[in-house]
Symmetry: C2
Subunit: 342 residues, 2 copies
Amino acid sequence: MSKIQTGKGRASGRVTLAEVAAHAGVATMTASRAISQPDMVSPALRARVEQAVAELGYVPNRAARALASAQSNVIVVLVPSLSNAVFTAVLAGIQDALDADNYQILIGNTRYSDAEEEKLLSIYLQSNPDGILLSGLSHSKRVRQMLAASHVPIVSMMDLASEPEQLSVGFSQQRAGYTMTRYLIDKGHTRIGFIGAQLDERVLKRAEGYRKAMDEAGLSDPRLEIMVGDPSTIALGAELLGRILASAPDCDAIFCCNDDLAHGAIYQCQRRGIAVPEQLAICGFNDLPASAWMNPSVTTIGTPRYRIGFEAATLLRTVIRGETPAATRIDLGFTLMARESA
Amino acid sequence: MSKIQTGKGRASGRVTLAEVAAHAGVATMTASRAISQPDMVSPALRARVEQAVAELGYVPNRAARALASAQSNVIVVLVPSLSNAVFTAVLAGIQDALDADNYQILIGNTRYSDAEEEKLLSIYLQSNPDGILLSGLSHSKRVRQMLAASHVPIVSMMDLASEPEQLSVGFSQQRAGYTMTRYLIDKGHTRIGFIGAQLDERVLKRAEGYRKAMDEAGLSDPRLEIMVGDPSTIALGAELLGRILASAPDCDAIFCCNDDLAHGAIYQCQRRGIAVPEQLAICGFNDLPASAWMNPSVTTIGTPRYRIGFEAATLLRTVIRGETPAATRIDLGFTLMARESA
DNA sequence: CTGAAAGCGCTTACAG
DNA sequence: CTGAAAGCGCTTACAG
């Protein structure tokens, strides 16, 4: 009883479990159980502990729990961008999937940089995460080494892995690029340009799909491709429209690697007096909200980003629990949204 | 020496500091210092420890460090949304400000919900954060109690606190709302509508500013106000345009509480054949990227969201270090962006 | 500059 | 169902 102190603990200045236990008149570990595994404690003691927790304003120390249990309840999520609506939707899906469990989600923004990804991973690995959600399949050697050494379960999001041992949830970026290009070809376009920015692995795969379709149709022409490493923005789309029309003035359709670019290209056409789609068809990728509302509305590829996050988190949780997942490679597909702009 | 094991630690399955120390032939605490305070260790020993770290692939256990040092190096950030570009910009500013330091940033998305904010805060408080960055000034009683009991330094973002003891970084939402409304009045508009969604505290303050300006000009009319709790989206803007024109058919200008709504309203005007700004002026708030590019380009309020994050994090860091900040209330202002739509 | 000891606040087997 | 003991992997004063 005399262990009840001032209500302030020691080093951390916080109430400890031992103080709660003393206050409730039980052993520390009974208090621990009353909190973590309430079913294993008699209702009477449980109630006393709960009351002590409330009276003392006890806040568990997560570091102590993690250290003692060798279990962090942390899940790390690495995304390349937070300003891209695609990844914020992925995050929303992850949050929803993990909401019931007591996981702490560590969100890292790699900003499309290998160095940043390495840095974040090395820091987050210090938290001994239960699992990791990664964006994309291609990572630097150091990242792969750290990941392998950590023995932490990983699920890759956005695209599908070739080997089934690697857990992945997404859709074929290449097939989506191919599908959109075929759509434009089937509409009768013959001079179809491709505008790619950021040049992350997903954009590169979409470009591959574009090239495949163009090759098959005998329509390939390097002048029709504009690829730049800058981030995808509306402003860049406007600029690249000018670049591609300079490079291929007879261009009759443009496949933009994502919607921001397509929006910028369309706004720029409006300023230049180019009729979309009559003179120039323009389509995008990802189906951002504005695409359905702009005038003209934008033809694009709808992507299941929320579901990617949700299913990836669900899959990861299954693996963390030691259960065997029904599938290790979950293809969520994509949808061609045919609208006015192409 | 015989302490060097298989390279695998015990419970956590990881290499420990003790193993690193044994490998380097030094005491555990010398190894600890070589890593945390390298200046306090002789170059020779430091090199041996560093080599041991590399050879063994040592990853520090953050939970153990936090527990022993009673210092988490965690900073909690609570934002109401991740799909709103305003808050992702705030986060980018925070990241940049804290990049050099070894902080782990815990990002929580409260989804504009008090209950969710309480839940996240109670979980994050378990990590014993060094500091907290909060969005807005108004919080539930439980949140205020938890915050007070925690004794953790807090900086509020987005708006300015009335009491100087409360650290805050942002700008006056009310003044911004007033400024935009005055602008419309000065342009000769007399039937100025206000469309508000989400109805978080910032929107409410902007509405207050709108009302003040309208009152002063003797132009107030409740039929000119549409307030709904739904999240701000382009789709909602399109819908609310219809609602306000039904409520006040003679409306000659609309102040949308943010850009998404303004975009939707403008797209809807285009579909209905209403000329913007000739028949109806429309303006927004926040200056999202599309606002500068749309046709017509959108008159709006430019807000210093990136800088809010950056300065708030910088202020918090100052306080955490025990230093006295130059100012406790940092007004970053706003900018009226007069463009084509109003 | 270097080190042996104690302790951070929990949980995990192990008994009873 | 309940509890005394040991230990998780670090760091913090305190000596030398």
